[in-house]
Symmetry: C2
Subunit: 291 residues, 2 copies
């Protein structure tokens, strides 16, 4: 999807929030904000929001001199999710519909997104999990998702954030994981999961994990490595987690299932839903899985 | 007061909201937003927020080609306030503390501010009036205000917005209005009151009204006419209404009473209060009224 005018004030607000989260002083934050304003004044609205997100966070890393400013936040939420993992694993195991429960929990995990808000409390994650288990949501494509996963030979699972990947692990454990390759970012951007997070959370013990070669907070194909693009082309099913992957791949000519929580009004409008809605939805270009 | 980093995302959001309210199409709004981003990237944070506000709305008028884009909104709220006037006048007349009631209503009228939000409903104005009559607020400087008004020889009453000036009229009618000169903007900016509004609402029949020669949404002294500045210097008391006048005059070396509703978090922090608080407060430089 393209960027909308409504994204622009939000980019500026996010840049300020992120700069303050990372920088030690207002002068540094001011430098970040001024550079982001200048970038936004010239931005190409035909590009998806994560392209601008990538630029903003490159500015933040350059101006603050911190390569991985969200490292502590990622560690915190990896640890939190790992503490929750045994109980969630039990919920899935004890569920009459384990795959559905795992999908619900994977969507709940998408709340751990510092691209949308720079303040997230443990209690909010716990509340989101609780809500995700009982909230009604559009499950009309669930059977198709389940069938597509069974029929596919090569599945790419595009991860989103640190911490959240523990919730993805729960879902992946309910899927034929021998066919799945998980994808993390090539280098740090916001709290997006990198290989370090995949190792720490044990994801690499369950499934093959690769890097996409990019530091955009989504999957901007032309910014990814050639190796990743080849794998993307060859996969017959892509599971794309989170807003950034939806924003960057909603128009891709590919069999994709998007799994996310719609957390911003622009994405909610694009999806035709309310903010906060749980989403399991196939791409427009999705072709019926071949038998 | 200076501008803060927090003002910047808000400027961009306000520019987009205002552009959409005024412009017919997204292309025009995009042009406005891009120009405002470029201005914000270079802005001097030592200037008060209304200096940037003035620039934003000059851009909007230039890009849209509309000299007075808020004209209809001003007419609507003038008419609404005039319809409410007889009842409010009755409330003041029937009050055991008519001056206090008039101050409360004048503060309530400050809700009619399209610089803060571009959506304001009639019901919200009515609710604000109702609340203003019963809400506790810091009246510790009320007696001093009352005394200052009595002792002053020349009072300037700096008006804020169209519609709101009907509420100001209620207050002015409780004051020694022969000593008061009301001030409106020199030309249109947002929904700030101009001479046209002062005439339509009958303010000119009650009190002398002059223009300040400026199109900033506040009182940026160096942008005002020489005539206004001379009157400002000569006045021994200034009553400054609304956020824009607070932002531009909070540091002025002058006997000023600010009357407003703190509607934005930056101003609330500057005043040391919560958002939504009713304010009757003298300037830091205020010198005890001479007997």
């Amino acid at each position: 999807m393209r960027s909308y005018l409504d994204c622009i004030p939000c980019f500026v607000r996010q840049a300020l929030e992120a700069a303050r989260l990372v920088a030690c002083d207002e002068k540094t934050s001011e430098k970040v904000v001024r550079r982001v304003l200048a970038l936004a004044a010239e931005m190409d609205l035909n590009q998806s929001p994560p392209v601008m997100g990538g630029k903003i966070h490159r500015v933040i890393r350059q101006v603050t001199g911190k390569d991985d400013p969200y490292k502590k936040i990622k560690q915190k939420f990896n640890a939190l999710a790992l503490r929750m993992y045994p109980e969630m694993k039990g919920l899935v195991a004890g569920s009459p519909k384990p795959l559905e429960t795992a999908v619900r929990l994977a969507i709940a995990g998408n709340i751990i997104d510092f691209g949308v808000s720079s303040s997230l409390k443990t209690a909010e994650v716990e509340q989101t999990i609780e809500d995700s288990l009982k909230t009604d949501f559009d499950m009309s494509e669930f059977e198709e998702f389940s069938a597509a996963v069974k029929k596919a030979r090569k599945i790419l699972y595009l991860c989103d954030n640190a911490g959240e990947i523990v919730f993805d692990r729960l879902l992946i454990e309910q899927l034929p994981y021998e066919k799945i390759t998980c994808v993390v970012k090539g280098s740090p951007v916001i709290n997006d999961a990198t290989m370090e997070d995949a190792v720490i959370t044990g994801l690499t013990e369950v499934v093959k994990v690769i890097e996409n070669g990019s530091d955009d907070p989504g999957t901007v194909l032309k910014a990814c490595s050639e190796d990743f693009r080849r794998r993307f082309d060859r996969a017959d099913l892509v599971i794309a987690k989170g807003q950034g992957n939806y924003e960057t791949l909603s128009d891709a000519d590919k069999n994709i299932f998007f799994i996310l929580k719609a957390k911003c009004p622009v994405i909610a409008r694009h999806l035709g839903c309310q903010v906060g809605t749980m989403i399991l939805s196939k791409s427009r270009a999705f072709k019926k899985a071949v038998g």
